[in-house]
């Protein structure tokens, strides 16, 4: 148990995460080259869940336990972890025995990834130039990227949303919308 505890925090935890990542990579590598390659996703999902459950199980070993009552902080998470293991095995069996359909076809992933990048850029920009400027850029950029070019709608929707955010969230609800480090630096 003490050996397991080593992996529950600090450097041990990082080592464990690396091991789990390598193991997952190996599973993907071998399954995608096997006769079950059309089920790679169906197999990888339960493996990820089992790894997650194992990670949480190892972390639990580092909890300080309350012996007196018999129901320490580890009891209920252990219950759910056990459930995840059981259902992961069922899902694996379903994927390997043909109960499951083949992996679904992927659609236009390029658009999704570009949009995720847009969101990440938006969140970074919020911290730098504040909520209002970054939201204007995000809305305009987001619509233009999807090939929407009715500028009347683009401008009015962006302005309307910013006004709504300002009056409802900032003025009425006192939500402290981020002002941005750069704007604060310039305007003081």
């Amino acid at each position: 148990m003490e050996k397991i505890q080593y992996f529950s925090h600090d450097s041990g935890l990082y080592i464990l995460l690396a091991i789990l990542a390598v193991f997952l990579g190996l599973v993907v590598f071998f399954v995608s080259r096997s006769g079950k390659k059309e089920y790679t996703g169906r197999i990888v999902f339960p493996v990820v869940f089992m790894e997650l459950a194992f990670l949480f199980f190892v972390i639990i070993s580092g909890f300080s336990k309350t012996k007196e009552s018999g129901v320490g902080p580890e009891v209920v998470p252990l219950l759910w972890i056990t459930g995840i293991f059981i259902f992961s095995i069922i899902l694996l069996i379903q994927a390997l025995t043909g109960y499951e359909k083949k992996d679904p076809e992927w659609g236009n992933l390029k658009v999704v990834f570009i949009y995720i990048l847009l969101i990440i850029a938006y969140l970074i920009l919020i911290q730098i130039i504040g909520y209002y400027f970054s939201t204007a850029l995000f809305l305009i950029g987001g619509m233009l990227f999807l090939k929407y070019n009715n500028w009347k709608v683009i401008i009015s929707l962006t302005a309307g949303w910013l006004l709504f955010s300002y009056f409802i969230f900032y003025r009425m609800l006192y939500v402290p919308l981020p002002e941005g480090s750069l704007i604060t630096l310039i305007l003081g």
Binding site: L13, G41, R42, F45, P46, F49, A53, F56, I59, F63, S64, S69, V71, G72, P73, V75, V76, P77, W80, G83, I84, F87, S88, I90, L91, Q94, D103, P104, W106, G107, N108, L109, V111, V112, Y115, I116, I119, Y122, L123, I126, Q127, Y131, T135, F138, L139, G142, M143, L146, K147, Y148, V153, L157, W161, S165, F169, M172, L173, V175, P176, L177
Partner: protein, 492 residues
């Protein structure tokens, strides 16, 4: 007779400009607060509390009660039109409401949700009026073991949410339950799975998680199907609205869900979301066509909405009769009452019947006002579905970002919302329903706290020695088993 004469006096109090303005304003603000992801009914009520300082206690309570009632309906508007539940309980409304919109029938979803909410709210209020005192006494006598079994009963709905993908539904629920254990343990104070990050001390907030799982995942799915070259035309040329006979067909579902919703609402800590899940599950199990649930069955919308609206009446039972707030919103309400030197509890009915019965009368009137405003507004809500995807998708993202930030003014919530969105998109892609994740997160706290309290008080055997606990356990097992038995019967 006292009750009726007090109620008449309550209605008499409403015969003035100020109470009626308070009801209409409360309903409008409640609908807006409910429809906006990130603004919960409790936040809507809390935000208006400062405006009530100079109002009389009666008018204050009428205004805040009307917001509470209408916010539960408001959540369904964005759930039906853009699959973005405005409130946690509207998650269940989206199961069938959004598929109806996808089929080009947003009017059916919106109309059904409005009528079911109104009837549910009405029935909940009637039960509140007639049975508040004995029901409240019963609810507070429940042992933690019975609360734990209530949570397990709530979790049993997963079996019917999953259908053929039952293992995936259970897996999703387990993930939700495990996510719920992240943070500082409420009993021992031990940090669990926080990785030393103080932002995780309170765990993941529910609202950003559900915005991510429902709204953002849907945006990513739509983007994946998106063809940049093609202009997408709106297919909703003229939507149909349900007729009276369509609503009449749902009478049993609405009635049953309203009663169940009120009863669940009475239990402190249970609330509108659990009520909606349980009622949906019950409606599905009692339906002759359970396979149509999740594909756009108005019965699913009616069950969820009637239950979450009627739970308002239920939640007010322990508040007024015993002075115990059973939900976040009633906790805010109790604070608002105390500001006006009104102490809720058994004596309130004797000392200040004017306050209690004017609230009862106002809640009944608020439901009628909600129906009228909802019918008028539905023509506006439906326009949302006609917005081109190119405009709608970035707008949903912008709403989601501010909605998740507004909960705790936390940027971490925004990042977790996006994370849940990506996870939800991948899970849905591989057939994992995301609703059980939310259910797990909602019920996790109730289940864990009461499980541990019960064991500390009476050991593990306590779950099998208390009659109510055993009854709930049997109901939960039956609820787990019924979908499988129905499936087997169908195959035979």
């Amino acid at each position: 007779m006292d009750l009726f004469s007090n109620l008449l006096t309550g209605f008499g109090y409403l015969a003035g400009i100020q109470p009626l303005v308070a009801i209409v304003a409360g309903v409008i603000l409640g609908i807006l607060a409910g429809a906006m992801p990130g603004l919960s009914p409790s936040m809507g009520v809390a935000l208006l509390v400062p405006f009530t300082y100079k109002l009389s206690p009666q008018i204050s309570l009428i205004l805040l009660g009307s917001i509470y009632i209408a916010a539960n309906y408001g959540g369904s508007i964005t759930a039906v039109t853009i699959n973005t539940p405005g409130t946690p309980s509207a998650v269940v409304t989206a199961f069938d409401g959004y598929p109806l919109t996808k089929k080009g029938k947003p009017g059916v979803g919106l109309g059904t949700s409005l009528v079911a909410s109104t009837v549910g709210g009405f029935i909940g209020t009637l039960i509140l009026i007639f049975f508040s005192v004995p029901l409240a006494r019963l609810a507070v006598k429940l042992h933690p073991a019975e609360y734990f079994m209530l949570a397990i009963f709530g979790l049993s709905t997963v079996a019917s949410l999953g259908g053929r993908n039952w293992a995936k539904a259970f897996m999703a629920a387990m993930l939700g339950l495990l996510i719920n254990t992240i943070g500082i343990d409420p009993i021992s104070g031990v940090q669990r799975f926080t990785f030393g990050n103080y932002r995780l001390f309170d765990g993941f907030a529910l609202v950003p998680a559900l915005i991510g799982l429902f709204a953002l995942s849907e945006v990513f799915s739509r983007l994946e199907e998106y063809k940049l070259e093609k202009a997408v035309k709106s297919k909703f040329e003229k939507t149909k609205w349900p007729k009276f006979k369509d609503y009449w067909k749902l009478k049993i579902t609405i009635l049953r869900s309203s009663v169940l919703g009120t009863l669940i609402g009475i239990f402190p800590g249970a609330g509108a979301t659990i009520a909606a899940f349980l009622s949906y599950d019950l409606a599905k199990k009692s339906s002759k066509e359970p396979e149509t649930f999740g594909t756009g069955n108005p019965e699913g919308v009616a069950a969820a909405e009637a239950a979450n609206s009627s739970s308002v009446g239920g939640a007010l039972v322990p508040l007024l009769a015993l002075g115990i707030p059973g939900s976040a919103t009633t906790a805010v309400l109790i604070g608002a009452l105390m500001i006006h030197d009104v102490n809720p509890g058994p004596l309130l009915f004797v000392e200040r019947p004017d306050i209690v019965y004017s609230l009862f009368a106002a809640l009944l009137v608020a439901n009628v006002v909600m129906l009228v405003l909802g019918l008028w507004g539905s023509k506006l809500w439906i326009k949302v579905t006609e917005i081109p995807k190119k405009v709608l998708l970035p707008s949903i993202l912008a709403i989601s970002i501010i909605g998740s930030f507004a909960v705790h003014y936390s940027f971490f919530d925004v990042i977790s919302c996006v994370g849940f969105g990506i996870a939800g998109w991948l899970l849905k892609k591989y057939g994992f329903p995301v609703a059980p994740v939310v259910l797990g997160m909602v019920l996790g706290g109730l289940a864990e706290t009461n499980f541990r309290r019960a064991v500390i008080m009476g050991g593990y055997k306590v779950f099998f020695t208390r009659p109510v606990s055993v009854i709930l356990l049997i109901l939960a097992i039956a609820s787990f088993a019924v979908p499988f038995l129905q499936d087997r019967k169908k195959k035979q």
